[in-house]
């Protein structure tokens, strides 16, 4: 399947042009910064480090929108970049770890983190726990992404 993906016209167009690859990579990094910046704001609020004076949802709400937009941008550009070297990337351990952490961080945010902020009944302790786990997942994702692009 991955070798077939590499033969599609989209993949060959990306693979044949450094300018296209570099531009996609630049947009990919913008989406990543937006999503991870949102994750930092949301999880630091859940941890009680930032903006304690306001309800968590006032920070986690807009942060969730930033994460959704950032992930959308990164996913679209990421799929295009992946198509050009699908078989190499899919065999790469750091890339696989990056995908696992991406899914884990995304699912955790949109279920547990957002849920902890939305319900007033959630204890401060549980919110802090969610913030710590969320922060660890997003940090892990960032490190795996760096390892993938730099040591492949």
């Amino acid at each position: 399947m991955f070798t077939w993906l590499e033969t599609t016209s989209v993949a060959t167009t990306v693979a044949s042009s450094i300018a296209i690859t570099a531009s996609l990579s630049a947009i990919h990094l913008i989406g990543y910064t937006l999503a991870t910046g949102g994750a930092l704001a949301a999880n630091l609020r859940l941890l009680g480090v930032l903006f304690r004076g306001r309800p968590a949802i006032e920070v986690v709400g807009p942060a969730t929108r930033a994460i959704a937009l950032g992930l959308t941008i990164s996913l679209v550009t990421g799929v295009l970049l992946f198509s050009a070297r699908a078989s190499d990337a899919s065999a790469n351990g750091a890339f696989r770890l990056k995908m696992v952490l991406l899914i884990a961080a995304g699912v955790f945010h949109f279920t547990v983190s957002r849920g902890s902020a939305a319900r007033a009944s959630v204890s401060a302790q549980r919110a802090r726990g969610a913030g710590a786990i969320g922060l660890a997942l997003w940090l892990g994702l960032a490190v795996a992404a760096c390892v993938f692009i730099l040591l492949e």
Binding site: I18, A26, T33, L40, R54, P62, R85, V143, C146
Partner: protein
């Protein structure tokens, strides 16, 4: 100028980054994580200045809460960026995107400084708690976002055009 750049490339730090197997990836990783923490958190100050997010908080509260994070991120980014520059000083200096990146970086700094010294210091009492601050404040926030996006894009283009790996 060229002599200075060549001297930089022959310093021990530069040679360590050029020749050790993990030196270069490690410093680049620190650079990207610094970027994430600095621009990722500064963005929320800009969005607050634009009146887009965190409207229930004062602009000054958003700034003070996030300042330790973006200043720490900037420190990581500048130190790692300077280290990377020593290792590739001549090719970086000759690279168009590196120059564009420096210009955008400089303009982002000037924008922040002018905003702080000229605008915020004198008028912030009037709009600190406004959900939608006046046009000058919003323009400064938007300018910051555009310039930092420019720094990120130019940085990425630079690494593709300098080292020519796909």
């Amino acid at each position: 100028m060229l002599a200075v750049l060549e001297w930089l490339e022959n310093t021990r730090l530069a040679i360590l980054i050029q020749e050790s197997q993990y030196g270069f990836p490690f410093v680049v990783a620190v650079h990207i994580l610094g970027l994430t923490v600095s621009v990722g958190t500064l963005l929320w100050v800009d969005l607050r200045m634009l009146g887009v997010a965190l409207r229930g908080l004062r602009v000054s509260a958003v700034y003070r809460g996030l300042a330790p994070w973006f200043f720490a991120g900037f420190a990581l980014m500048f130190v790692s960026g300077a280290a990377l520059f020593t290792a590739f000083a001549t090719s970086a200096f000759a690279n168009l995107y590196f120059r564009l990146k420096l210009v955008a970086l400089l303009l982002a700094g000037v924008n922040a400084l002018v905003f702080h010294v000229v605008v915020a210091a004198k008028t912030s009492a009037k709009w600190d708690d406004a959900a939608r601050p006046p046009a000058g404040v919003r323009i400064a926030g938007l300018t910051s976002i555009v310039l930092w996006a420019g720094v990120i894009v130019a940085g990425r283009m630079m690494s593709y055009t300098m080292f020519s790996y796909p």
